[in-house]
Amino acid sequence: MTPRKKNPLAPPRARFVQTVVEVEGRTETRVVELPAFEPAPWTADTPLSIVGTSPPRVDAFEKVTGRARYSADIVRPGMLHAVLVRSPVAKGTVVSIRLEAAQKMPGVRAVMGPGDAPPTTRLFRRDISYAGQPLAAVCAESLDAAERAACTLAAALHIEVAPHVVTVDDALAPGAPLVRKTGNSTEPDVVERGDVAQGLAAADVTLNREYRTPVALHSALEPHGAVCEWNDDHLTVWESTQGIFRVRSDIAKALGMPQAKVRVLKDYMGGGFGAKNGAGAHTFTAALFARQLGAPVRCINDRRAEQTDSGNRPSTIQKVTIAARRDGTLTALVLDAHIPLGISGWEGGPAQIFHELYSCPNVRTTETCVYINASGMSAFRGPGYVEGAFALESAMNALARALQMDPVALRRKNLATHDERTGRAFSGNRLDECYVEGMKRFGWTSPVSRLSSSVSRVKRGSGVAAQTWPTGGGPPSYANVRINSDGSVDVLAGTQDLGTGARTILAQIAADTLGAQLNTVRAVIGDTERLPYTGNSWGSMTTPSVGPAVRMAAEEAKTHLLEAASQLLDVPVERLSTHDSQILSDSVVSLSFSELCRRLGNVQITGRGSRGPNPELAVVTVGAQFAEVEVDAETGIVRVLRLVAVHDAGRIINPALAESQLHGGIIQGVGYALFEERHLDRALGVTLNANLHDYKVPTMADVPAIDASFLNGADPAANHIGARGIAEPPIIPTAPAIAAAVADALDVEIGEIPLTPWRVLGALAQ
């Protein structure tokens, strides 16, 4: 572990060191800057007055008055509209496309087809490998004109159709058409610890199960979109994204230009959930048309494109073997998983949680990714862990039933005391307390001692599941704090607020550090040109990554502020402090920030902060959720009555906003458990429910009573603000908790979600 330097003057310069960071569950070693100093950690006892409270979102007024502007709300003078033409088939070749007819239509300014875009953009390729792939585009004076021309272009496509595969079985069948030149699957990725054969031999009970999870679609209400505008050779992009700097580098690479000439702006965004982590076909299309036509161009996905080609949570087929002694001690866990990624994607599969959630000496996981002719996957809130938790936690619940044991007791018996995957100690892990608190809030009684379900057709049941997720965040992340000549404060960090509340909590951290009133502090985010670098808002990383950088910047600014006050007041700096935007001398108010800054004139007080390296510890957010359901055994309809969630995420910066994150994860988890499933037609290879009517996301009428809470405390070993991430953890245990409650109600295990009526009835009929 790197020692924290408390003295701001030593060492005088930053150094560079290696650190381990986790991104979306994957571990990477990076070289990072070691800040010249890091503040002493805020512990659970540190008195804080703004951090830990729930002021309203700083941008709430804009959001409730309709003034918050999203990408599609950006209007530039002379702006044109671009629409993509997408493949209607899953595999084939574009033989030809006649562009002329569309080109001549009223309002149409330009058309692009195969060969018209630089290969680095991967736009408009002749080889078709999934339905929905962009094949051509049109740019017109109105969206209406562009859409009409796009229809004409679509009709002018001559495609030679080829056989496709969209299921695992079809993709792996002998002689299957190749999705990628290298083959239709990856080499199995095997990760093992201990000796599984020995673990199985030592077991009193061994269960084998197969679990299946669906393809889930992010379905952010704001579609992907961008507005691009050139000024000479300088490009400005308004993009709905979770990563402005990533979009900038994507564009710079694809268009062969320096990053300094690309400016990416993002003020408000309407949800991302993992699907908006880089530039896309819409970005490149808008940028290319804008350059060609010398006018700003807007390109926004329509809903069909959004539900077809903007990423997804891949489905899984997971074969699980779970083995334990009669007293519940786990002796072996085995997972063999197949994950159809689409045409591309990364191997962030379900295995990891099998290695991390429980103490188990013998674990072997095998993941095989399969390529199919469907749009590629992308990260979706808790990628891999959500799918893995459904299998692992369902297997744990099956084991509890087989052992006639309370599923909570089974889990508490197998608590991980350290990260058995890496051998690292936890910075903090209070999962056991989450179980205890959750049982209390839920009124949990062991199913073993409960009376069996009533004979009525509507049956009730309860279930539990748990979660872990790496939420340490890490460097690099930078922030600046600037105190203006009227004493107001700007926090400058090139991060983004997806709706999580980053803008608010960064202002809270800066205000608390400076001793400033929150309403004098403004967080400025979302601009690659004028703000310091921070990473993507993914992996529940923004709070633990950018938060410490903001605190450090504010600490430095406060040091300078007090030095200046010391000179003005002729009082030693040690006797000065700050509170409520006032300088206190021996705890007596002597000067307001505004008066001090007025006297200083245009002397600018600034502070610079960066996120230091991570400790050599496993930093995780953990939690337990309890569900109660009602199942109509005649109709198969499952209704979730209530959900209790207790999570441990270290310090909570803003409890109201954190609670909203729990609600959001849980409600998406309800959708994953009960309704959400992309239907990809096997024969046609197209998505049958690429809209928000047939792809069912939860409505207000579907949402149960939710009691979501955090354990109080802080995790000063994780980083110096003591906070871990919270956005992804809550979706992870929801579906297995609901499935367990359904199994409890019906006395039938259902190994496949979503638990739609026909699936429930099918299981009951067996």
Binding site: P56, T65, G66, L143, E222, M269, D302, S660, H693, M700
Partner: protein, 154 residues
Amino acid sequence: MRFFVNGSPRDVDPERSPTLLAALRDQLGLTGPKLSCDHGECGACTVRLAGDPIYACLTLTAACEGASVQTVEGLADGRALHPIQRAFITHDATQCGFCTPGQLMAAAALLERTPHPTEDEIRAAMSGNLCRCGTYPKIIAAIRAAALDADDVP
């Protein structure tokens, strides 16, 4: 074609913008109502027509001649926020905020029709407005609070 938007007479060309949503956004610059599904599935475009919540993406501009339309931009009385807007702020009933204008218009219409809705009435009235961030519990709390708040203001 003339109609009344947020209390003011406005003229739009229905030929240029066949749907009310397009007319509001593209011709009048009222970008509060959002284009998200374009098929009446999500409610992000919800505005009020003669007081009723409607999907602006499914409403023909030409059918609104002479009618009164209210968008989120017209919900506040000058700087004074509508009780439902205040309640959305204090109950953190927004996350990304994209669906918020539609939620607010549906909620305002509900409260006018049913000043003291039960939770079931709220769920039924609001289930045509999707929120992918999952803000529903807080929207319910905000609507209940706004109903009480309105009692305090004579």
